[in-house]
Amino acid sequence: MAWELATFPSDLLPSQLEVEGADVQVVRPGEPVRVTHVLDAVEPRIRPDGRAAFPTKGKAGEGRTNRLDGVVVLSCLDFAEEERPLHEQESIVDLAGPGAEFTPFGDETCVVLTFRPGEAGNEDAEAAARKTTLRVAEELARPTLDAEPAEVETFELGAGDENLPRVGALIQLSDLGPLYHLYVYGTPAGQAGLPRIVDPAELLDGAVTSGEYHWAAMRNPTIFFQRNTLVRSLYAEHGKRLRFADVVLMRGYEQSADDKQRAAEAAAARAQELGADGVVITTDAGGNSHTDVMLTCRACERAGIRTTVILAEETDPESTRPILTDWVPEADSIVSTGNLEEQVEEWKPERVLGGDTLLDGTAAASAGPIPVRNYLGAANQMGQLTLGARTE
């Protein structure tokens, strides 16, 4: 069944917005603003038929969805100090200056929601912020219901030329417990029956949302699924250079060697069900999720399915030592989305939103160079952006 995505101009953005429990600031494109403690980025969307834009039941990727073009909702929360998650999770979006090249939001109107941590624990504060953010994103798109779209895209996969290779996407979603998981239809990835085959339109239409606060640069915020470059490119190539063979969602951070092996083989089995000749395997977050990806790559190759893996690197820029956390010889085709450890040049914003002090205690307005690692989604491993690393 076809899915339609209707685009509306950003001037439909409501001028007044109040959100309980959060401060709201609207930043216009190019303003010299730094946003800190960013949890998620979401594109305003709403469905004319009244179903939820980020559904927890039913199926996304059907009927029509409206999107507000050039607008992003950024949610920010500075967790209460004594209850900060284990990881350093500073997450920055610069809307101008050198850091703006590393995140895709500088050209957009940003609606920044700064949540107050309140008395509840981290998990409650995060859950409230996440749900409110999705609701606000839906509310902001409401004026599109009475407007004419500027453009309507239709997403539908016809049969395609039998001679073209069948290519699927294996998309990894983290689940390392509370504060470190993505959601599939509102359910944490680890409890969502993964690996599972989904229609690629579901992914673009709000089926996956983010609640994952590892290294900022390796996060996949919700908007990266809504605007997923990999899925969109595969749609665009369908019938030209390949036949797009759907998406498999799989979990990252399986917690034991046995589970990792089992999950890798199950993901490869799903790819076989798709009849895929080749798959692009994407990664979410770092460390042991890279082992999940490597085992999945191996399982696919052993099943006769060719693979290309997308990974970020974490290497000392002054070292020439090996750079990958894990590797199997079958991973002979890897795209690098950049080295997290490089520094981004110093920049002095005129205004800071989200919180004035970075988690390392420095003032956000006058911090020195900041590593790529701390920029939201900068080295995301779905290949959403153009950053790469090469040997020099």
């Binding site: 284990l86 350093e88 090249e101 290779p165 290519v167 390392l176 417990g177 470059t229 990999l230 490119s233 595969l234 250079r241 390949l242 917690q255 080749g278 798959v279 692009v280 770092g286 460390g287 042991n288 060719r306 693979t307 290309t308 997308i310 690197e313 974490e314 290497t315 000392d316 820029p317 002054e318 070292s319 020439t320 030592r321 090996p322 990958l324 894990d326 590797w327 991973a331 002979d332 085709s333 890897i334 795209v335 690098s336 989305t337 950049g338 080295n339 450890e341 490089e342 790529v372 491993q381 290949g383 959403q384 952006l385 153009t386 950053l387 790469g388 690393a389 090469r390 040997t391 020099e392």
Partner: protein
């Protein structure tokens, strides 16, 4: 600005293979290919030529290197140039080793040799300009070598290997590609399906060869080492959950077990809930004590060593390993139980 030029005995005019045992010497000004190089350098004079026999360097590397570095330190140049060594393995190795050592000491350094010369790997963070496989490439390489040397002497940026005319040194540097990572992945996958496999990241890991078996465990002093972030409750030394900069040693004297009341893991790379219910599963002190009582291991070392292995660059972990191994060796430890997470 001043350059010092390194040559082997042959190119320095000291003699051929029969003089390959010549120890290091220092000559004034440019010699041999140095004259052609000097003509191409911009605002840089070759003030001295230092030379060494290839065999001497290979057989007495430490002494040769010390003498050559001492020549450089007497009157530090703005740039050290070595070679061109072309395809000569011993000469290339000497050039690479010398420029690497000089670069470590803060002297801008460049060597020239064939890309497959083993000296390229020896050159470390110094620059290597590619040459033809034999001396027929001299005329071609001297202007290119001079350009890199002049830029280094003047402190100018060389740019990427392509722009700067040097071989990649192995540093991974960020850049903005024309296509998104997703589009690049599709291109790579379709190329692979078409029979042409390419990658943006070479694989390979540090392969650690398994050491020889411990001859007699019942006589061995055994130590417990971990990267599981296991520390005394409250983390008194503030071991970080990620990107540790060091490691800690905690005394085990009188401890029979790592009780949950007294130890915990602060590792930020895995869910520590289960581990913290029984820290022995991270550092198996309970079992090790049992083996000690049964006489299956000689004795347990008096302390365990711990760090957090999470987001740690390989170069940093290598340092931890070297430091911990040094202490253990000094203490007479003959075997280590290394628990990873």
């Amino acid at each position: 600005m001043k350059a010092v030029h390194y040559l082997n005995q042959f190119f320095a005019g000291l003699g051929g293979e029969d003089k390959a045992e010549t120890p290091p010497v220092r000559l004034d000004g440019a010699v041999g290919p140095g004259r052609g190089l000097a003509a191409e350098l911009e605002d840089v004079d070759i003030v001295a030529t230092i030379a060494c026999g290839d065999d001497y360097f290979a057989e007495h590397e430490d002494e040769a290197l010390a003498t050559l570095l001492a020549y450089l330190e007497e009157d530090p140049p703005d740039v050290l140039v070595a070679g061109p060594a072309f395809g000569s393995g011993r000469y290339g190795y000497a050039c690479g080793t010398l420029v690497a050592a000089a670069a470590e000491r803060g002297i801008a350094s460049v060597a020239a040799m064939h890309p497959e010369n083993p000296g390229v790997d020896a050159a470390g963070k110094a620059y290597v300009v590619p040459t033809a496989v034999n001396v027929a490439g001299m005329r071609d390489v001297l202007p290119r070598l001079a350009r890199v040397a002049s830029a280094l002497a003047a402190g100018r940026e060389l740019g990427t290997p392509d722009q700067g005319g040097y071989l990649p040194r192995g540093f991974r540097r960020n850049y903005f590609a024309e296509k998104t990572g997703a589009e690049r992945a599709i291109d790579l996958l379709l190329a692979k399906l078409g029979g042409e496999t390419r990658t943006e990241v070479g694989g390979g890991l540090d392969r650690v060869e398994p050491p020889a078996a411990v001859p007699d465990l019942s006589q061995a002093l055994v130590a417990l080492v971990t990267e599981a972030g296991c520390v005394p409750q409250g983390n008194p030394d503030r071991l970080p959950a990620v990107r540790a900069q060091g490691w800690f040693r905690y005394d085990l004297t009188g401890e029979e077990t790592l009780s949950a009341a007294r130890y915990e893991s602060v590792h930020g790379g895995f869910d520590v809930t289960l581990a913290n219910e029984d820290p022995n599963r991270l550092v198996p002190l309970d079992t090790a004590r049992e083996l000690e009582r049964e006489g299956r291991i000689g004795r347990l070392h008096e302390a365990f060593y711990t760090t957090t292995g999470n987001g740690t660059p390989v170069v940093t972990s290598t340092r931890f390993g070297r430091e911990i191994a040094g202490e253990l060796r000094e203490a007479g430890v003959g075997a280590v139980l290394l628990s990873g997470t």
